[in-house]
Amino acid sequence: MFGKSVVIGQYIPLDSAMHRLDPRSKIFFVALGIVTLFLVQSWLSFALLGGFFALLALFARLPFQYVFKSLRPLWVLLVLTLCLHVFFTPDEVLVFFGFLRVSLGGLFKGLFIVARLVLLVVATTLLTLTTSPIELTDGIEGLLSPLKRWGFPAHELAMMMTIALRFIPTLLEEADRIMKAQMARGVDFESGGFMKRIRGLVPLLVPLFVSAFRRAEDLAVAMESRCYRGGIGRTRLRVLRFERRDYVFLSLSFLVFALSLSLSWLTW
């Protein structure tokens, strides 16, 4: 159930222009990209954005198959969306498949949505493949810190995310260990009806929670014994700084996004 194949965070450590960008500018880029992708309505805009993302992937020196690998968990969703649109859009009928009708408009619409989803995933993948989880949380903290003035716990939130990320593999390992131990006591996790399986999870979840609470307590003590008392007055090893390349990258992104938006309004 939980193999070593579970990879959390798909970060690929490379030394590239994309990797060296400030995480804040990459997060900003993704946020803007998502908004743009939802607003644009024409194939031309999609082509432009797709080309831009491909260019960035090239700059990031990422092998293309890595970018596409992140689409793999999505293919069911993609196929489903496509089918729903193809078969259930009331439009001029192209072919009949028994009771199913394939319509031209539906085909286009479906492909359109699929392209949008693919580009969304590619954009976020560009961020997660080139930014380590630590940089990512640093970036989020940086972006949220203006809100601190109104009492928003930006640092605490970022710390929580870092800790959560750090403990996912640990807890998976723990779950694996407990599962094996309970299997040695005759628990069958794999067979039986739904209710039986749910009840079968109790011997796994209770010890897992117990150990998670213990770990949390230990961690809190360890942090306090190293004088951690929240974000106030805390210095950092890596200070985030906007460089020239960030300005270049962001201006370029703005340009492309604006262009694709105007293209879509012009040709729609």
């Binding site: 260990r177 131990a181 006591r185 010890p207 150990s211």
Partner: protein
């Protein structure tokens, strides 16, 4: 792996039966406890095997007594209220209640205080002697091994590099060090005496060392003037 002539790698092997036959106690087994009472915790495994009623109660009682826990006093307590050594023994009892033929324990004394460690090792010894269980103890601790083992198997990089009686294993300091095992102070004292020319047999317990010294080292001295 072959258990009782059954190869576990074969698909469809009777894994359930093997799991019942070979009780596996993982490292820090108290981490796998989840029930509200000690009784329910220990009854969990046999219940999964379909044992019920009086037989179940008898098994829990037997398992608790086999590891030296008082059935009446502890059965309704929460396992999380117990001391570390007690928790460890409850965890071992929760495997024993399946009535396995072989009990495999991974570092069962890790993290226990000296007293808890001694009690546990004694109970394991009893399991073997009184109830005829085969006990496989996985340990890095030379003293634990010396205290209760009969046969020693040394693994190095996944390979068996030594397999023989415990005394044979402890007879050669060179071999122990070759496998990265540091002899206990007891053994070192014996090896030191050997180096000085005394033919002392490597001891397993302090008492044995004392007897050896009495017999082989002290005899050479003149007897005391006051006769015993």
């Amino acid at each position: 792996m072959v258990v009782d002539g059954v190869d576990t790698r074969v698909r469809g092997a009777a894994l359930r039966e093997i799991r019942q036959k070979v009780g596996l106690v993982f490292q820090y087994p108290e981490d796998q406890m989840f029930e509200e009472t000690v009784f329910r915790e220990i009854a969990f495994a046999p219940r999964n095997m379909g044992v019920e009623g009086e037989e179940l109660e008898a098994r829990v009682r037997w398992a608790m007594e086999a590891v030296g826990l008082n059935y009446e006093a502890l059965k309704d307590k929460s396992p999380f209220e117990l001391s570390g050594g007690q928790m460890r023994r409850v965890a071992i009892a929760s495997i024993l209640s399946m009535k396995p033929e072989v009990l495999v324990l991974d570092e069962p004394t890790a993290g226990l205080d000296p007293q808890g460690r001694t009690t546990l090792l004694e109970r394991l010894q009893d399991l073997r002697k009184q109830w005829g269980l085969t006990v496989v103890l996985v340990s890095h601790n030379v003293e634990d091994v010396a205290r209760i083992a009969e046969r020693v198997v040394v693994l190095e990089g996944g390979e068996v590099v030594f397999d023989g009686p415990v005394r044979e294993f402890f007879a050669c300091e060179h071999r122990m060090r070759q496998y990265g095992i540091i002899p206990s102070p007891l053994l070192r004292a014996a090896f030191l005496l050997q180096a000085r020319g005394f033919e002392v047999n490597p001891p397993l317990t302090p008492l044995e060392l004392y007897r050896e010294i009495e017999e082989k080292v002290l005899v050479r001295r003149k007897p005391c003037s006051a006769k015993v």
